[in-house]
């Protein structure tokens, strides 16, 4: 997505956005968080005075506090530009406000960038994102009142995931390394992301480039810290790291069980055991990971920011009551920290609001602890809700329980294998297992039995094994079968076929047996107008396989009876019948060897009644500019459409978005959309798939 179209999504005029922006601008201009004036600004002043390239040693050499800036190089570089400009202005004007303003503005810009990323990731749920992130009391408090810099690592981590979902693993790895460099704790997301990549066959190939690029970038980014003793003591020696051990169960012999690593490991193991993790569930898991850290440690308030954007993404399409709950949790967080921790000065009005409220108005005994307990309960509940929401939306179509089974039958030369390969291009080769009926012919091509029987005769095929293999694959088992080599006309040695998310079964008799037929989610029959079928068969057998035209014609004639008896009746059992027709009938006597170009085609599609077609047809007519004739069926018949016109692969991609939400999860990250009739077929099959999977959800 180009920057321009990404910005087009940005809800710049939404009242919720403007409200959040107004609050931010007021705070940016007026508030000077105490941790800025005591820690961050002195650190940067010391760096500017004593050495931009060795800020940590410069800071310590000038007597700066050790905990002033426990962050890595990336954080330093992110904050440096505007603070430097501000410090310059301070020096010029003799004021002391601009460096702080530069810091506040840096936070605001990164906060905006994070919002833009979230909106780009959930464009359909902008308002929810605004409510759950942009107006979150946690974000407002952490960034603008307490003044912490956690937005820097979080925006980098989110960028890393955004790039990963777009299959840019190297860039994603670099962003992840930058996130970890700016705040070590971001590394906690790493193992979860790795599990997400490795357990899916579709995504496994992304793991290596991401890890390699990430490691290389990490080395570069961490080297300056490791090389400088001052940086080591400030960044790696931060007392925050030891908070990991704060919650523990003491055992009698001096040993302890640390609760945080236990909880985190449990999360990793349960992620590992999930068979299928969608992008949605990954986001929820990362949120839970961060929440666990916050709940199991005496967390600094900035840490609450880590999970807030992930929370917003996970709950972007959920029930309103959960949104209210999340907002309530934020408000409670706000109240608790306002009571306990220093906030901001308002120097312009000479007001100091930095004193924790509890120091002015003492809380009743146990008051703070009770508040914390409620916050803790809310956090635990959030963990549960996140897991529930993530798991509910994960594996929407329950593909990890049972593969999607598609049966494609039709006479030879009707395009079964082309359709199978075009569907493989949509679902992704790594997610599809293709079983071809050709591999179940009983005899090699030169065997004498073919003189008395055609391939179209069911007895010439091992349909029992075909059925058993598909049953086994549909329940997740592995099978062994031979493979028919069309060039040699012979079966190869048996090979192992593993089950997968999608099982495509093509064959002359794929829909022949009703027991197997019932097992398919989608039954497709491919037909073809006679003259076109003859033409294409001639083209394939004469031009490609080198057969004699006369032999091909004889074969066509000899098969006619079997075709009518065994093949065509399968059409009645299909949910979807598709057939190509030439725009003008072909004269086969003019092309006896099948030479010449394929004529212009149109597609006849018959769809079982009950399958929704209106959104797809409207898009094909409206967006793609196709001519679509619709024939009203008699009761019990199929709906019939005749489609004509040019269709670009880009048209196909856009039309697919009209079919069903939730299909994304089923498709490859970069589906190979086709143009022309092949693209139209892709769309009608997907439409049928969406319908079948929805039925499966309703009547499992």
């Amino acid at each position: 997505m180009r920057l321009r179209s990404a910005l087009g999504l940005f809800p710049a005029r939404d009242p919720l956005f403007l409200t959040g922006l107004a609050i931010r601008l007021v705070l940016v201009l007026l508030a000077v968080p105490r941790i800025h004036s005591e820690w961050f600004i002195p650190f940067f002043s010391n760096a500017l005075e004593g050495g931009l390239f060795s800020p940590y040693s410069a800071h310590l050499a000038q007597g700066g506090d050790l905990p002033a800036f426990p962050y890595g190089v990336v954080m330093y570089l992110a904050v440096l530009p505007l603070v430097t400009i501000g410090a310059g202005l301070d020096r010029l004007t003799g004021a002391t406000v601009f460096a702080g303003l530069g810091l506040n503005l840096t936070i605001l810009l990164l906060d905006l960038a994070l919002l833009a990323l979230l909106v780009a990731m959930r464009p359909a749920a902008k308002r929810r994102i605004l409510l759950l992130y942009w107006l979150s009391p946690i974000v407002l408090y952490v960034c603008y009142w307490h003044g912490q810099l956690d937005v820097v690592p979080v925006v980098l981590l989110m960028l890393s995931l955004f790039l990963l979902f777009r299959e840019q693993p190297a860039a994603s790895g670099v962003a992840m390394a930058a996130a970890i460099s700016s705040k070590l704790s971001m590394a906690l997301a790493g193992p979860i992301v790795l599990i997400y990549l490795v357990i899916s066959r579709r995504r496994r190939h992304l793991a290596a480039p991401m890890v390699l690029a990430g490691t290389a970038a990490s080395l570069v980014l961490h080297l300056p810290v490791l090389a400088s003793p001052a940086a080591r003591s400030m960044v790696l020696g931060t007392p925050e790291l030891s908070k990991v051990y704060d919650f523990s169960i003491r055992l009698s012999d001096g040993l302890e069980i640390y609760l945080l690593p236990v909880a985190y490991l449990l999360l990793l193991i349960s992620a590992w055991l999930i068979r299928r993790i969608s992008a949605q569930l990954l986001l929820a898991l990362v949120a839970v990971g961060f929440l666990v850290i916050v709940l199991m440690t005496p967390a600094s308030p900035g840490w609450y920011l880590w999970f807030t954007p992930f929370l917003a993404l996970t709950f972007a399409e959920t029930r309103q009551r959960i949104v209210i709950f999340v907002f309530g949790f934020g408000a409670l967080f706000f109240a608790f920290h306002l009571l306990r921790l220093p906030g901001s000065d308002i120097p312009l009005w000479g007001i100091d609001l930095s004193m924790p409220v509890a120091e002015i108005v003492p809380l009743p005994e146990r008051g703070a602890s009770i508040l914390l307990s409620v916050l803790f309960a809310g956090g635990l509940m959030l963990c549960l809700l996140l897991m529930r929401e993530g798991v509910l939306r994960n594996d929407y179509f329950r593909l990890s329980r049972r593969p999607l089974m598609i049966g494609i039958a039709g006479d030879s030369s009707t395009g079964k294998d082309q359709l199978a390969s075009s569907l493989t291009g949509l679902f992704g080769a790594a997610a599809v297992t293709h079983v071809s009926g050709d591999d179940y012919h009983l005899w090699d091509r030169h065997k004498p039995m073919w003189q008395v029987m055609t391939h179209l005769n069911p007895s010439a095929n091992d349909l029992q094994k075909f059925r058993e293999d598909l049953f086994a694959l549909s329940s997740g088992q592995t099978v062994k079968n031979r493979h028919y080599d069309h060039d040699l006309g012979r079966m190869n040695a048996p090979r192992t076929i593993a089950s997968n998310e999608v099982i495509l079964a093509t064959g002359l008799h794929a829909l022949y047996e009703s027991e197997l037929n019932n097992r398919f989610d989608v039954r497709i029959f491919l037909d073809m107008e006679d003259s076109l079928r003859t033409f294409l068969k001639l083209r394939r057998d004469v031009q490609l396989r080198g057969h004699e035209p006369r032999a091909v014609f004889a074969a066509i004639r000899s098969r006619q009876l079997d075709r009518e008896r065994f093949i065509q009746p399968q059409a009645a059992k299909a949910d979807l019948v598709m057939g190509l027709e030439p725009l003008h009938p072909l004269r086969i006597d003019e092309v006896p060897s099948g030479e010449g170009a394929i004529p212009n085609l149109r597609l006849r599609v018959q769809v079982a009644q009950g399958t929704p077609t209106t959104p797809l047809i409207r898009t094909l007519v409206g967006v793609c500019g196709l001519h679509v004739d619709r024939r009203e069926p008699a009761s019990g018949e199929r709906l019939e459409f005749m489609l004509e016109g040019d269709l670009d692969p880009e048209d196909t991609a856009l039309a697919a978005s009209a079919i069903s939400a939730g299909l994304d999860d089923l498709l490859d990250a970069r589906p190979k959309w086709l143009g022309g009739p092949a693209g139209m077929m892709q769309l009608f099959v997907l439409n049928q798939v969406a319908h079948a999977l929805k039925k499966r959800l309703l009547w499992p």
Binding site: R4, R618, G622, G625, E650, L654
Partner: protein
């Protein structure tokens, strides 16, 4: 944000028929157009190496020429003619396939990017339930306007569509309005016109159809004074729904 009424008398009675402009009245045209142009620009850069700047300049010039030649007719808005001329202007002579491809890229992006204004369909449904006939009266060629109507499912709401292609002239000419009045026949009550453009929708409908005019107000739309001033201006279709339910 509320309904601004300039002429309260005109709005006392429920309409007997409502005329609608389409582009920028039922959906925000500018952002969708911008995305569609961007998609086409990118395609031209990818396929032909035409720099975005060259594309923009040639397109603007092509559009100017086509508009000057076909002023006031539906074809003067034809993206196909704009892209066709643009390709000639960048020195590629006539490229039929590319022009068709660019046109299709433009429209499919515009259609999928365009967002129907909130409440528009609900308002149309209110009119349908009250038995008030509705007519689309719009510039541009029928082919693309019909495609839009099908894609958005407006065909089940509107009783008639009048395009400037069939009327022979663009708005603000009287022809499209006269054709619309001819199609609806006699109406026993006030006629409303809902549009965004002060000249082609507001003033023209008042002069040629005697319509009570309501202007859709959003970013980029100006509500003007004098004879260009509508009888009312609204930001959200919900305001019209409330107006309708408050009328006897």
């Amino acid at each position: 944000m509320a309904l601004t009424v300039f002429n309260p008398d005109g709005l006392k009675q429920r309409p007997a028929c409502v005329l609608f402009d389409t582009d920028n009245t039922l959906y925000a045209y500018d952002p969708a157009h911008e995305q569609a142009m961007e998609a086409t620009r990118q395609k031209a850069e990818r396929q032909l190496g035409i720099a975005p700047r060259t594309f923009d300049d040639a397109f603007a010039e092509a559009r100017r020429q086509v508009k000057a030649r076909l002023h006031g007719t539906a074809s003067s808005h034809s993206r196909l003619l704009y892209f066709h001329r643009m390709l000639e202007l960048v020195g590629l002579r006539t490229q039929v396939l590319l022009a068709l491809d660019f046109e299709q890229t433009y429209w499919r992006t515009l259609l999928t990017a365009a967002q129907i204004f909130d409440g528009a369909k609900e308002f149309l449904d209110d009119l349908r339930q009250l038995g008030i006939p509705t007519v689309i009266i719009t510039d541009l060629t029928s082919q693309i306007q019909f495609r839009k109507i099908v894609y958005w499912g407006f065909d089940s709401y509107f009783d008639y569509v009048v395009t400037s292609e069939e009327a022979g002239q663009d708005k603000p000419h009287a022809a499209p309005f006269e054709l619309a009045l001819e199609k609806i026949g006699k109406v026993g009550g006030p006629l409303w016109m809902i549009g965004d453009n002060p000249v082609t929708d507001i003033r023209a409908a008042r002069i040629h159809a005697g319509a009570v005019t309501l202007q859709k107000r959003h970013e980029g739309v100006q509500v003007l004074d004098g004879e260009l001033r509508p009888d009312a201006a609204f930001d959200h279709f919900a305001e019209l729904r409330r107006l309708l339910s408050s009328q006897a």
